[in-house]
Amino acid sequence: MTEENAVKKVIIFRLETEEYGVEVTHVQSIERMQNFTRIPNAEKSIRGVINLRGVIIPIIDLRKRLSYEEVPYTEETRILILALEGNHAGLIVDAANDVMDVFESEIGAPPQALSKEEQMYLKNVIKKESRVFTLLNVHAVVEALETASV
């Protein structure tokens, strides 16, 4: 499997037992969980802000955002730092430990059975060998922030 054939590189992360993917081009770095400062009166999934090398970045608890049950953070918990058109936001995920090449033929539409709201955050479903994971629509996740935080 050569890299030239790869359509996109995807970072795989885990929420609960499910696997999700984010295009590597949207991710600036993966950080360990760290101290954050709570933002008062903000939307509930916004955990607060962190200082990442001098830049203040809002972080979103993805479990909360995607309506999973909230659990305490662990040693495995990671923050995916997204850089979208120069703007930063962080996503708290259960674990992130894999980068994968994904091919055109492996990408499919999200399942129709999901509700509109659920579909909003999902871009595609990727089937790779025996694994199935969901490609996250990161723009939708952070854009909801803009209006929700007001």
């Binding site: 101290n35 954050f36 400062t37 709570r38 933002i39 008062p40 009166n41 903000a42 916004i46 607060g48 802000v49 962190i50 200082n51 090398r53 001098g54 830049v55 203040i56 970045i57 809002p58 703007n87 930063h88 936001a89 952070v142 922030l145 803009e146 935080s149 007001v150």
Partner: protein
């Protein structure tokens, strides 16, 4: 370094030099005799000429060269800094500025400079003529050291130097050709060592009817005159021996002049070196430096913790020393991005001068607080809108002198440009003592434009009405002057400031004057805050909005309309618990007897904010919460504390 990098540097430096020239020209106008000022202008012009030459911008080279010539004569006292000369010099600076702007916006820096160089040359020519009629002395030329050396050498080798003033007939058709013939006639048995204007200008026919040449030759004076006069279309030829000045007078001059020159040029240069030693740094690099530094601060925090745990006195000492050093370092880095608004303000005096002259008004511009610092990125944006506002004040605000006299005001109008720091903002104000805004005219226009309904007009306060002038397509001035009435309205000005996160408002009183007030944010600015604890969280309160800190008894709180109030020095002010405002999770085992409060104000309004404890006062960098968290209630931004943690900065104005 690549060409573009050179180009950036060239543009930036040229702009600085033009600004310096402008400032110094205005200074010179006030003190026409001041040689140091002339020296400064000369140096700027000369540097620009050199740079423009290297970069291949011919027109700019020529303009600065002509400028230099006039200045040179002023230095030699053959030319006075009268109003006419000043006008031409300022105009030349304008032309140079236009060329540089063209280059900056991607143009080739080409411009028709004949008119201005001719004016400058006219100045220098006339000065020659003036000098001659006034003092009846020799035809004057400026000899530099090289010229003197050439003349001295020529005299030694048995030649003779002459200056010749040659006037062409008024109706001469081929001036350059005639001049060329004169040159050829003179060069037959000698050398032309210098001419005014320069040979290249003469070739380009950039002279009026006369020019001066200095020639060293073996021929006799009469011969020379006859030979030149033989060229057709030559009206008069006057020749004088240079000998007089070279061998008798010039012995002394040669002795004297260089020494006085060195004195003159070295002292201001030394002064410059002390006050103005700068290098250029790309702003991206400053950003990177800042971010890297903040990482260092985080690690410093970790080291501090580790040293507390390990308790090795050597380690503790080293870490303490490191903390002090990084503290100083921090201060330096923070201040590096800030530039004084003077960078923008310094171009206004000249603008006001020329505008008021064009309009026949007398206006004095007063600049206050030019040293106020703003982030570089904001400074870069506010120039144009400020130009517009100042033009507006001069054009529409200040009345004509007769009218002012009739209204019992001094003939000279007053425009004040102020900048100052307050809270999280920098304020810039432009105030004039002109006619003010006419409520009725604004209302009429607002109704015409459909901004408001006619029946609502009377219910509006003057202040509300005045803000209409920022609406699109608004101009109450019926006749369009070529100054402000260029189709760019105050709405554009307003939009520009708003895009910077600023707010503009106008206050006006009819007959008394108008004040534009602009509030600008400090996107990356250092502010002084009082850090407080609320529960486990830290918050920063801008020092400028704090009246005082106090401790109050819980029993002194009473209720007015269900709101908690205290009597604070005779004022009844509301009490707000920050833990409620910010929904801070706190668990208290017992009720507090005393509350620590910070009394804040916004104008006349005050409030007491209850906190858990005061940490102390600190200079911090105000940072934005980023694109995705733009409007958090009562939070104006955040800052990174020494331990790397983030503290939110409270916008106390939003609480009042």
């Amino acid at each position: 370094m690549s060409h573009t990098e050179y180009l950036d540097m060239f543009i930036e430096e040229s702009q600085e030099h033009i600004q310096a020239i402008n400032v110094h020209l205005l200074e010179l106008e006030k003190q026409p005799e001041d040689e140091t000022v002339i020296g400064e202008i000369f140096r700027s012009a000369h540097t620009m000429k050199g740079m423009a030459g290297t970069m291949g911008y011919e027109d700019l080279t020529n303009v600065t060269h002509a400028l230099e010539n006039v200045l040179d004569q002023m230095r030699e006292k053959t030319r006075l800094a009268d109003a006419e000369t000043m006008d031409v010099l300022l105009e030349a600076a304008d032309v140079a500025e236009e060329i540089v702007e063209d280059i900056a916006s991607g143009g080739e820096g080409k411009k028709d400079i004949q008119a201005i160089t001719a004016k400058l040359l006219g100045q220098s020519m006339r000065s020659e003529a003036d000098k001659e009629t006034k003092e009846k002395s020799s035809i004057n030329m400026d000899w530099n050291e090289y010229d003197r050396a050439v003349i001295a050498q020529s005299v030694e080798s048995g030649m003779q130097g002459y200056t010749m003033q040659i006037t062409l007939a008024d109706n001469a058709m081929l001036k350059a050709a005639r001049a060329y013939m004169v040159f050829e006639a003179l060069e037959a048995d000698g050398h032309v060592i210098k001419s005014v204007p320069e040979a290249s200008d003469i070739e380009a026919e950039q002279f009026d009817n006369e020019f001066i040449v200095a020639v060293v030759t073996t021929a006799a004076k009469e011969d020379l005159v006859n030979r030149v006069a033989a060229v057709s279309e030559i009206e008069t030829v006057v020749a004088e021996e240079i000998e007089i000045t070279v061998s008798t007078d010039n012995e002394a001059r040669l002795e004297k002049t260089p020494s006085s020159e060195t004195k003159e040029s070295s002292s201001p240069e030394r002064k410059r070196a002390e006050t103005n030693k700068t290098i250029r740094v790309n702003i991206d690099r400053l950003d990177k430096l800042m971010n890297l530094f903040e990482e260092l601060v985080i690690d410093r925090g970790r080291l501090e913790r580790i040293s507390e745990e390990i308790r090795s006195s050597e380690l503790t000492e080293t870490v303490e020393r490191m903390s002090r050093t990084t503290g100083s370092l921090q201060e330096i880095i923070l201040h590096m991005r800030m530039v004084p608004v003077d960078q923008v303000f310094s171009r206004f005096p000249k603008m006001v001068r020329s505008l008021s002259r064009d309009l026949g008004k007398q206006i004095k511009l007063e600049v206050i607080g030019a040293e106020t610092e703003l982030d570089r990125s904001i400074i870069d944006e506010i120039g144009d809108p400020l130009v517009h506002l100042i033009r507006n004040s001069i054009d529409h605000g200040i009345e004509m002198p007769e009218k002012r006299r009739q209204n019992g005001k001094p003939e000279e109008g007053h425009v004040e440009l102020r900048a100052y720091h307050s809270g999280n903002h920098v304020y810039i104000e432009i105030e004039d003592d002109g006619g003010g805004i006419d409520r009725e005219r604004v209302l009429k226009k607002a109704v015409e434009n459909g901004v408001i309904a006619a029946e609502d007009a009377d219910t509006l306060t003057d202040y509300d009405v005045h803000q209409f002038i920022f609406s699109a397509g608004f101009s109450t001035v019926d006749e369009v002057t070529d100054l402000s009435g260029r189709g760019v309205g105050l709405d554009v000005v307003k939009n520009t400031f708003e895009s910077l996160g600023g707010v503009i408002s106008v206050h006006s009183e009819k007959g008394k004057g108008t004040r534009f007030s602009i509030q600008l944010p400090l996107t990356l600015s250092i502010i002084d805050v009082m850090l407080v604890d609320v529960g486990e969280e830290h918050y920063g309160l801008p020092l400028t909005s704090i009246v005082e800190t106090a401790s109050i008894k819980s029993s002194s709180i009473f209720y007015v309309h269900k709101r908690k109030m205290i009597d604070f020095r005779g004022n009844i002010i509301p009490v707000m618990f920050l833990e409620d405002v910010f929904e801070v999770p706190v668990e208290r085992e017992w009720d507090r007897e005393n509350y620590s409060v910070v009394v804040v104000h916004k104008g006349e309004k005050m409030a007491a904010l209850v906190v858990d404890s005061f940490i102390g006062q600190q200079d911090v960098v105000l940072k934005s919460l980023g694109h995705y968290l733009r409007d958090v209630r009562a939070i104006s931004g955040a800052t990174i504390l020494g331990d790397g943690n983030v503290a939110l900065i409270v916008d106390t104005n939003a609480l009042l």
